[in-house]
């Protein structure tokens, strides 16, 4: 019991260590009010995407297409925003959910491993983003910046994460994604509609990436070929930092979304503050990611991630 408690406390300790470490390294600069505002701003899109991918990874699946979804949904929202900004939100969520549906159906119905499916959709939709943004750049109205309100965005994100938490912890869907991650065949034999649950989880992840795309749009006012780039990796690193096992399953805890996103954002922010160049940042993140996977992988059960 004590060992289990200790294990679940590791991510929290990690977050504290990251914060304390960078406070020392930056001589307190990282604890500055304005820096905290920046950290929260930077964490928002990551939190939204993680809230969705949490469902996917708990099933033992992966979603590599998150970044491309953000890219394409952002472009779609940019195009639509010249007619109506509220409709742009609908467009972003619609594109995200649509790609999620495609991922889910390919994975569940055609029985292709999720990382292969989403790797393919990642390339396909990133290709489309590059094509559209370079051939038909979208113009957004100035009014779009009215939506770039930190307090408003913060409330939306809190609402999304809280809703995700409730669905994960207190509904059938949450139980079912965990069951699939614990043992897909046994879940099916217990009456879980495995295909439907899988598709639903990917649609949720896609739709939330759509919301993240709208956030990205109101922040920069434009959709570029680079929008959302590497979001998928950041989301996965965040969740694993937050204590989620890459093979998902019964031990998955929703707090991984919050702890993970905060830890990764603080880490990135801190590295920038101490003047690490982007290549060093990636190197450090890669090493930490690997270490986390080594720690969180459940070797005893002999399960290999799908």
């Amino acid at each position: 019991m004590n060992k289990k408690m200790l294990q679940s406390a590791v991510p929290y300790l990690g977050l504290v260590i990251v914060i304390v470490l960078f406070t020392i390294l930056t001589q307190g600069k990282s604890m500055d009010g304005s820096n905290w505002k920046l950290i929260i701003e930077q964490a928002l899109t990551l939190l939204i995407c993680s809230a969705g991918v949490m469902f996917v990874m708990t099933m033992g699946s992966l979603d590599f297409s998150q970044g491309s979804i953000v890219g394409l949904a952002c472009y779609a929202a940019a195009v639509v925003s010249s007619f109506s900004i509220p409709l742009a939100i609908v467009a972003a969520v619609g594109v995200g959910a649509g790609i999620g549906l495609l991922n889910g159906v390919m994975h569940a119905k055609f029985k292709i491993q999720s990382f292969i499916v989403t790797m393919c959709t990642m390339f396909i939709f990133r290709g489309l983003v590059v094509f559209f943004t370079s051939n038909f750049p979208a113009e957004t109205p100035y009014a779009i910046y009215d939506y770039d309100n930190l307090v408003g965005k913060f409330i939306v994100v809190v609402a999304i994460v809280a809703a995700g938490f409730i669905v994960f912890r207190f509904t059938k869907l949450g139980r079912q994604v965990r069951a699939i991650g614990s043992g897909e065949i046994a879940a099916a034999y217990s009456g879980v509609n495995v295909d439907r649950t899988k598709i639903l989880a990917f649609v949720i992840a896609g739709a939330l990436a759509g919301i993240a795309a709208f956030f990205a749009l109101v922040r920069t006012g434009s959709a570029t070929a680079q929008t959302g780039n590497l979001m998928e990796t950041n989301v996965m690193i965040a969740l694993v930092l937050g204590g989620l096992s890459v093979s998902g399953g019964a031990r998955s805890n929703y707090m991984a979304v919050i702890i993970g996103a905060m830890m990764l954002t603080c880490l990135t922010n801190g590295l920038v503050l101490i003047g690490a160049d982007p290549i060093t940042q990636q190197l450090i993140k890669g090493i930490i990611f690997l270490l986390c996977i080594i720690i969180t992988t459940d070797r005893k059960s002999g399960l290999i991630s799908k």
């Binding site: 207190f170 069951a179 509609n193 399953g249």
Partner: protein
Amino acid sequence: MSKEVLIRTQDLSKTFGTTKAVKQVSFEVYKGEIHGLIGENGSGKSTITNMITGIHTVTSGEMFLEGQKYEPKNQLDANRHGVSIIVQEMNTIEDLTVAENIFFGNEELFIRNGVIDSKAMNKKAREYLDVFGFDKINPADDVVHYTFEERKMIELVKATYFNPKLLVVDETTTALSHDGREKLYELIRHVKNRGGSVIVISHDLQEVLELCDSITVLRDGEHIKSFPVTDEITEDDLKKHMVGRELSGKYYREDTHSNIEGEVVMSLKDVNVEGILSNINLELHKGEILGIGGLTESGMHELGKVMFGALENQTGTVSLPQKNVEIGSIKTAIASGVAYASKNRDQEGLMINASILDNVCLSSMDKLQRKGFISPKRERRFTNEYATKMNVKMENINQFVSALSGGNKQKVVLAKWLGRDSDILVLDSPTRGIDVMVKASIYELMQELTKQGKSIVMISEEILELIGMCDRLVVLKDGEITGELLREEGLSEEKIIHYMI
């Protein structure tokens, strides 16, 4: 016969988390003997042999093989010391060929110029397979093409081709048909005749008495007694040692009345599954225990799946006349009160890497939710209620199922379906790999359930338990019903076997 000790354990202990699975066990196995290891579920039999064969590490204590200190690092290392094991569950690798499975870890025997010479490997495998008369098994085939039983035979060859000094057979016979068992016995005696020793773990006490030269009894991880087998020792003596007190005689049903007067609750019409089942017409009555017997490959296990809507390629109908429901999927089956306990408990029956709570609640989500939300408190109460009812031996309901013994796992499966309040229970090999005490409690539960008006389909390879428990017994052979027998005084094994083969 001079008795030379082959392996000796000294205060051997194993702890999993806070559970002490094995407590300071010291016993010895002599050269050239067949040694039975018996005890209830969770008594530590498998844990001890798993330490001997390098599958588990030793927490404390020592082992000596032929007088030398013996510390196997893993299963391959144990093999190199001449110690091998045949485990209860499936242990072949699906994507490899038969020959590759047999020589797994010893491929260097066949390396020519840096590559594996498959021809030589297949040839050698052929030789070993022929020794035991497994002429139907082709070394070049992927094992995936073979049935559970045939794969077990492949494992037998794998575990013995190198003439082991010590072979452990862990609860293998219950999963095998008559023929398979005979092959296994032959092989065990073969190892003995060549001067090797065999440790047999079995719940079939009759089998243990017939096969073994000496027996060690374990209870709750402790060593109770070791003794040579003599003619005076009876099954009851063994049971007494295992349980630690006298057992009452009651085991199977005591009445001889065949109760099939109830209305039809499930009806199968012209059920066909290509290559597996043909023209099955069958009715299940309220309050009945319907037995389905046959050889492993008779299609009886698939028939259980058909009743649960778990097979997709069937024709014909499975319906519940009273409810006017046709079963086409697992979901409808569960929703209309059909439960299924799989023979393949660890894959289909349970999520091994999840808690008792997760497993017990999963099928009853609709009952546990109010307005779309599930209350963890209600879940805990629900799990506690049914786990207690089933008498699951556990630390608490958050314990992972993987840490439970076979009998306790089965109790969790049953707790799940009792919680669902299912009317029809399809139980495939419900007592497979389960000890006497739990077996008795499962038989008792079955009778209690039928008294409450529930109906049970009991699929089993154990003819004795079918005779002992069923109101009516249907025998399958090659996918067809070949015989139907009613419960009566003096129903004999021979009569049933006659329909099976």
